[in-house]
């Protein structure tokens, strides 16, 4: 009887072992299947894209950040349209509107591609199974840089106009110069001078910000140089060159202002006329101040850009590239030393 008990115990232990193994296996298969929406009731919808950026079958579909399904199939229907087959949980389908849009994204910086379904407006009816939704174009870094370029062009134009105005004042053309020639202004000379001083101080502050901007851009030369050959780089280049023009114009502006002040000091007839119009001086002052603020902002923007590029440097993907660059630099240095 003892022997029989032993084999029975063995059989029970074996059964426990086998059941444990099989249930682990089934659990694993179930969990994986669950992730791929293989079980439970699902519905099929379609999304059209121009560019799927390497989306693969099995990638997740999210609605409001929640996983609601997976990509089941990808096929081309014509030269510019790709239709993606999506399997969506039935209960999630009850919340997606007909005008919802699909957008491609990545799971983390270098993770898998995902499809985000962006909610549509509420007055439109709910999506049915087998319906098709459209997609957003993906916003890229290129788009962001081209917007920045336009901003800079505008700033350049602004300073150019300002330059024209000051020049006109100097050469005594138009209303402002007429006002300057007016003899009734003499009494307020002192006040005007004070305002001019303030203006000069602001201008110098502005110049120093300008300087900072240029310096920070200069520092980034290596960073920008990296992107030398791409479209992005060209855009960045034009941004910088615009900023340069702006700076040059600014210099001329300041020089002109200087001349104006000198003449006022020298007591040509102009002093009298000028001192009579405080508001004009104030206006110039505020305009210079606002220009200063603009430049300050630009400077901050450039510092941020620099930070971004710095962050990019630390990003794992570009890291190797930057390291290589540094190494090359070092090599060049060594060569020069030799």
């Amino acid at each position: 009887m003892k022997a029989l008990d032993k084999t029975t115990a063995q059989k029970i232990k074996l059964a426990i072992f086998v059941i444990a193994g099989l249930s682990l296996f089934i659990l694993g298969v179930y969990l994986i299947g669950n992730q791929q929406s293989m079980f439970g009731s699902n519905a099929r919808i379609f999304a059209t894209f121009n560019n799927i950026n390497g989306l693969k079958i099995g990638n997740n579909v999210r609605y409001g950040g929640l996983n609601v399904g997976t990509v089941k199939g990808i096929r081309m229907v014509n030269d510019s349209t790709i239709v993606v087959d999506l399997t969506i949980k039935k209960d999630a389908l009850g919340y997606i509107r007909k005008n919802a849009k699909a957008a491609l994204g990545t799971d983390g910086l270098v993770g898998n591609m995902i499809i985000n379904i962006v909610p549509g407006s509420e007055e439109i009816g709910l999506l049915n199974a087998e319906d098709t939704i459209h997609s957003y174009r993906r916003i890229t870094t290129e788009d962001m840089l081209s917007t920045l370029n336009v901003t800079n062009e505008n700033a350049a134009m602004l300073t150019a106009d300002l330059l024209k105005i000051t020049r006109a004042i100097n050469s005594g053309e138009g209303t402002i110069s007429y006002l300057l020639k007016d003899s009734t202004m003499a009494l307020n000379l002192e006040q005007s001078i004070r305002y001019f001083r303030q203006t000069a101080a602001s201008t110098s502050k502005m110049i120093s910000h300008m300087d900072d901007l240029i310096v920070s851009l200069n520092n980034k030369n290596n960073v920008i140089g990296l992107l030398r050959d791409s479209v992005t780089a060209n855009q960045l280049k034009s941004v910088v060159s615009n900023l340069e023009t702006t700076g040059n114009d600014m210099n001329k502006l300041v020089a002109n202002l200087n001349a104006t002040v000198t003449r006022a000091k020298e007591g040509d007839g102009a002093i009298n006329y000028l001192s009579n119009d405080k508001s004009l001086v104030k206006k110039i002052d505020t305009s210079v101040n606002s220009l200063d603020a603009t430049l300050h902002n630009l400077n901050e923007a450039s510092i941020k850009l620099n930070e971004n590029l710095e962050a990019l440097k630390h990003n794992i993907l570009f890291r190797g590239y930057f390291k290589k660059l540094e190494k090359e630099k070092e090599k060049q240095l060594e060569k020069e030393i030799k």
């Binding site: 072992f17 086998v18 099989l22 694993g28 994986i32 669950n34 992730q35 794992i316």
Partner: protein, 259 residues
Amino acid sequence: MGTQKTINSLQVFLTEVGDISYFAGRFFTDVFKRPFEFKEFLRQCYNMGNRSLLLVGVTGFIIGLVFTLQSRPTLQEFGAVAWMPSMVGISIIREIGPIITALICAGRIGSGIGAELGSMRVTEQIDAMEVSGTNPFKYLVITRILATTFMLPILVIIGDAIALYGSYLVENIKGDVSFQLYFSEVFSSLEFGDVIPSTIKSFFFGFAIGLVGCYKGYNCDKGTEGVGLAANSAVVYTSLLLFVIDFVAVLVADLFYEL
């Protein structure tokens, strides 16, 4: 002289491969013939499955632990520690789990079979079975090969689970990752294309361990030395064969599932 030696060793090698193939062929022709030695099969399953569990469990646990500890600094450098569960999950399920478990079992089970059958051959126990009307091939060889074939995948699955648990412990202590997060990350990165081929592969691993162990033991030379040699060469040949099977399995899996 040199070429003669090469030819001789080649001949020995080919004879060996031929013998093993013949042995495997005999297994396949006899496995479906009555009578089935079911009780002995269960006994062998118990011996090979349950009794290897501790060894496989401890090894798996340590592998999971060490693997995670070792790869953590590198991932940290890239700021990709969040990828740890996926990375560990995929590598353990696809490759490390099956091959480590199989190697451990080749050492434990393969040598055990080689030595047991070898000593049975030497002490004429196999002849005694033959004479008493029991087909020793069916009773000893088929049950053992079947037992290893069916037990190894289960051992691999349990070993995988324990290894993942070990890896989770490290992540939990070092990175404060919760159990749920860890395992949902693991399973979200896994696909059937990872699990199915490695499970099928495990069956072949088990078959190889049983086949070579039985072949070496069953055809053991007379004498105590023969038993040692049988056990030893069972382990060596099995380990080698495991890697060959692994290689072929990866190639085949590659064909069926795009990587």
